[in-house]
């Protein structure tokens, strides 16, 4: 048995670039895993994947040519079925043994084992280890079957008769074990030891491999191909950096583009191209997008992040005279840039405001009306929110009016990714106020990157209005998220609302301003702007619950579940959840907290059991026992203090003040019988407990903290 390195390559026509890296890794992983399952790999085996536009390959070290035999215990049947009363084999057992290649002579050596119910007969056998040829055939079939192919094509084989389904037509197969060809076949191909190099630049054709280990090296020297995806990507990066540095510029950073380009070339050659300065009048986002998306170029930026008229081309060929390649690339990008410039110039001939009426003809949702109607609703809400946030309501209204108008511009029609960004450019051109311009731009910046936030309060007002309008409208027509499905991204909108509330509340506190934006008011106001659908209070309650549920999930990384339960079960204002949770967290640090929580739970249970409603009132003259008098006295002192702190918003101190109640409460329960025989005494004691309960549970339901 000999252990050598294995190389498998499937040579194909140009593979879909966006899927290439995934295809290459999957091919290598599945093939290696299958060989491993069949016992053909060793502990020390290392698998290396290769992927170029025209080939998928894998090199695995230490592959055996024959897997070791394996002893297995074959389960046959229960003893009662397999043997008759005399211990002779039944016909059923004889048949089963025959099927496994044994005969009656094996009966004596059968093992018996109890599976918990009955004795079972087992046959000890030796499974012959697979040869590499068998094992590899199986592994190859599996690897191809499991490829994550985005779209399968059907093509005819050379015999003109059979057709196969595969991602792209395959033309060659290599299976080399050391220097030996392992006979396997797939997709109508027989394995061999030769492949082809670069389509145009290979020094030798075909490339005949001398051994499995010389694959990458021979492809590089004879085939002019960098077979490894990672090596080719690194080569592109270094060439891009070098070429950009020569110009004193830097290429845009874009990993997805880099991956795509790596999947388009077998040997990269980075070249510098440029376009006319006049195109730089067009917003750089448009130019960068068209160069990246349509041409796969790397635009070059100066040290201030501004686009220049230079770009880098990653070419697959390296001619001595590169002027034709560069010239060709410059020629094809020019009409693209000219289009962008044309759209930009045309779009600016009309103001955004003049386009707003056109939104009446754009459908938002058949049950919720047009984009125009939606715009009207968002305007009203944005204005309302702005008033609450001390932002300028007129500007918020203006921003909401113009927010979606760029949908109707040619540029956004051509490049939907630029929605918002173009709105910002056109608004600035129209002479809109800077806060309005920022608000229009922010809408999509925030949408693209959840880490981002609105850059001013007008923008924040628009954002909140847009999100709450979406939540209320979509929820009301029955499209709330279910399970994994959330087509309108309502979860993200809910998280966005939470983020805005947190930020606005933190800054209001910082500036010593009152925070006037309340979630329930906001929901009700938003609901009042809908005329096509009636929004039931139930819907608003559901949305509120949905938002709190998202918040709770988000906060589980910060607070214990009981802490959050204690706070959220009292339905506090959204922006107060953190303050109260912090207070509870601090309360849990003090020694009295545990017994107070337990007592609180006990009081709650007693009050729940009481047949009639209990009024939180104490008549001092009815207090008899010294322990209840002591509690009443302590409460009379603590309650005003805790209440005052609560009203001032100092929840932490309010909860800390309760510590003084621990001793009297414990004493009360040790010495006082609540259910006194005299009804008046009992009622008074319940009244005392109700007062205690009220005092304790203003910040959070402390009973939830009891273990």
């Amino acid at each position: 048995m000999s252990s050598k390195n294995l190389l498998v390559e499937l040579f194909v026509e140009e593979l879909p670039p966006k899927a290439l890296n995934k295809l290459g890794n999957s091919f290598a992983e599945t093939l290696t895993a299958s060989l491993k399952a069949q016992g053909l790999t060793a502990e020390s085996s290392v698998s290396t994947a290769f992927a170029t536009p025209r080939r998928l390959a894998v090199h695995i070290t230490d592959i055996a040519s024959q897997a070791a035999d394996k002893s297995i215990s074959q389960k046959l049947m229960p003893v009662a079925v397999g043997l008759d009363t005399n211990g002779k084999a039944t016909p059923a057992l004889v048949k089963k043994l025959a099927a496994l290649g044994a005969d009656e002579s094996a009966v004596a050596s059968l093992k018996r084992e109890n599976d918990g119910k009955a004795d079972i007969l087992f046959l000890d056998a030796v499974a012959k280890g697979a040869t590499l040829a068998e094992g590899l055939q199986k592994a190859l079939d599996e690897a191809l079957a499991k490829l994550p192919i985005p779209k399968v094509m059907t093509y005819q084989l050379a015999d003109g008769w059979d057709s196969v389904n595969f991602v792209r037509p395959a033309h060659g197969l290599i299976a080399l074990h050391g220097i030996d060809v392992i006979p396997v076949s797939t997709l109508g191909l027989q394995s061999g030891n030769s492949t082809q190099g670069h389509r145009f630049e290979a020094a030798k054709n075909p490339v005949v491999l001398t051994s499995a280990d010389s694959y990458a090296e021979q492809l590089k020297t004879e085939g002019a191909v960098i077979a490894s995806f990672a090596d080719r990507r690194a080569e592109i990066v270094s060439q891009l950096q070098a070429a950009a540095a020569k110009q004193g510029l830097k290429p845009i950073e874009d990993d997805a583009l880099l991956d795509e380009v790596t999947a388009l070339v077998e040997r990269p050659n980075v070249l510098l191209g440029q376009f006319e300065q006049e195109f730089l009048e067009v917003p750089q986002e448009c130019l960068i997008l068209t160069m990246k998306a349509n041409q796969k170029y790397f635009p070059l930026l100066n040290s201030h992040g501004k686009l220049t008229n230079k770009f880098l081309i990653v070419s697959n060929i390296s001619p001595t005279d590169t002027s034709k390649v560069i010239g060709g690339n410059e020629r094809v990008v020019r009409p693209r840039l000219a289009d962008a410039k044309f759209f930009f110039d045309q779009d600016r001939k009309r103001s955004l405001e003049s386009r707003v009426s056109g939104l009446d003809k754009v459908v938002y949702h058949n049950k919720l009306g047009s984009q125009g109607e939606r715009t009207q609703r968002v305007r009203v809400i944005a204005k309302w929110v702005a008033e609450k946030l001390n932002a300028d309501p007129q500007l918020a209204d203006r921003a909401a009016l113009l927010a979606k108008a760029d949908l109707l511009t040619d540029m956004v029609g051509e490049f939907p990714e630029l929605q918002g960004i173009m709105g910002g450019y056109y608004a600035r051109h129209d002479g809109e106020k800077e806060l309005v311009v920022q608000a229009i731009t922010d809408q999509y910046v925030v949408k693209r990157d959840e880490e981002e936030s609105a850059s001013n309060l007008v923008s924040e007002s628009l954002l909140i209005a847009d999100r709450i309008e979406t939540l209320v409208g979509i929820w009301a027509i029955g499209l709330k998220p279910t399970g994994e499905k959330d087509p309108f991204a309502l979860r993200r909108h809910a998280l966005g609302i939470i983020r805005s509330f947190q930020l606005c509340h933190a800054t209001a506190r910082f500036l010593g301003e009152p925070f006037k934006l309340l979630l329930n008011d906001l929901l009700e106001f938003a609901a009042s702007t809908f005329s096509m659908v009636k929004i039931e209070p139930q819907v608003l309650a559901e949305i509120s619950e949905f938002i709190f549920e998202r918040y709770r999930n988000q906060l589980t990384g910060f607070y214990k579940p009981q802490t959050l339960d204690a706070v959220i079960s009292l339905s506090p204002e959204l922006h107060e959840v953190i303050l109260r949770s912090e207070a509870v967290k601090a309360f849990q640090q003090i020694t009295e907290s545990e017994s107070l929580a337990a007592a609180n739970k006990r009081v709650g249970n007693i009050l729940k059991k009481s047949e009639s409603a209990v009024e939180a009132k104490v008549n001092d003259s009815l207090l008899q026992e010294s322990a209840e008098k002591a509690l009443a006295t302590a409460l009379a002192k603590v309650k005003p203090e805790a209440d005052k702190l609560f009203e001032s918003g100092d929840y932490t101190a309010s909860l800390q003040a309760l510590a003084a109640l621990k001793a009297p409460v414990d004493d009360f329960f040790d010495n006082v019988m609540v259910n006194a025989e005299v009804p008046a005494l009992k009622a008074n004691r319940l009244g005392l407990l109700a007062t205690l309960h009220q005092t304790m549970n203003r910040v959070a339901d402390l009973s939830k903290l009891a273990s």
Binding site: L301, S303, H304, G305, K306, Q438, E451, S453, A454, S455, N456, L457, E460, R499, S500, F501, Q502, L503, C504, H505, A506, T507, R509, F510, L511, G557, F558, I578
Partner: protein, 182 residues
């Protein structure tokens, strides 16, 4: 783009002469996180440039520094705020690196990351080296009296045009007020 560069220890959190070596030792100065949230909401990018020679001295490792920063990010996230970029210099004085303040290496990195000129960018710190590092590139130096701020002020020799504020909270309000006037 509007940008602010902050020092960490003594500006955002209480400093210690014995270094901040663990997340539990990292405690925010009251109002500092809210001040950062206000910067976020006013359209500023917030970057931190901090000397962390404790790494080279072996006082704490990278995992611990990450845990400390995680605590800071999380505390800020509860307020809806964020730090957009965090640059630290792990070297000690004797390494003679280009990043350790008072050198401007980290500030140049930040400028390049955001594609902006540091000229006029508010640079907040509690020691002279924080201020000189930013001022060397034309930034607006702002000294806070928290951390080592009082000592720094007493020693004098501040870069020309340095604003002196009681803490980050006041500094941020001044930054925003000046911006509105401009």
């Amino acid at each position: 783009m509007k940008l602010v560069i902050l020092d960490r220890d003594g500006v955002i959190n209480f400093d210690s002469p014995h270094f901040i070596k663990s997340p539990s030792e990292w405690l925010p100065i009251p109002g500092s996180l809210e001040a950062i949230a206000l910067l976020n909401q006013s359209g500023y990018r917030v970057a931190i440039a901090t000397n962390q020679s404790g790494i080279s001295r072996g006082l704490y490792d990278m995992a611990t520094l990450n845990a400390i920063h995680d605590k800071m990010h999380r505390a800020l996230a509860l307020l809806g705020g964020r730090i957009d970029a965090l640059f630290y210099c792990p070297h000690a004085n004797e390494h003679n690196c280009d990043c350790r303040k008072p050198k401007s290496g980290m500030f140049e990195e930040i400028a390049s990351r955001f594609g902006v000129d540091i000229h006029g960018v508010p640079c907040v710190g509690d020691s002279l080296r924080d201020l000189t590092a930013g001022a060397a590139l034309g930034g607006q130096p702002i000294l806070v009296r928290t951390g080592k701020g009082e000592e720094t002020l007493a020693e004098g020799g501040l870069p020309e045009g340095t604003w002196v504020c009681s803490d980050l909270a006041e500094a941020v309000q001044k930054i925003i007020a000046e911006d509105k006037q401009a």
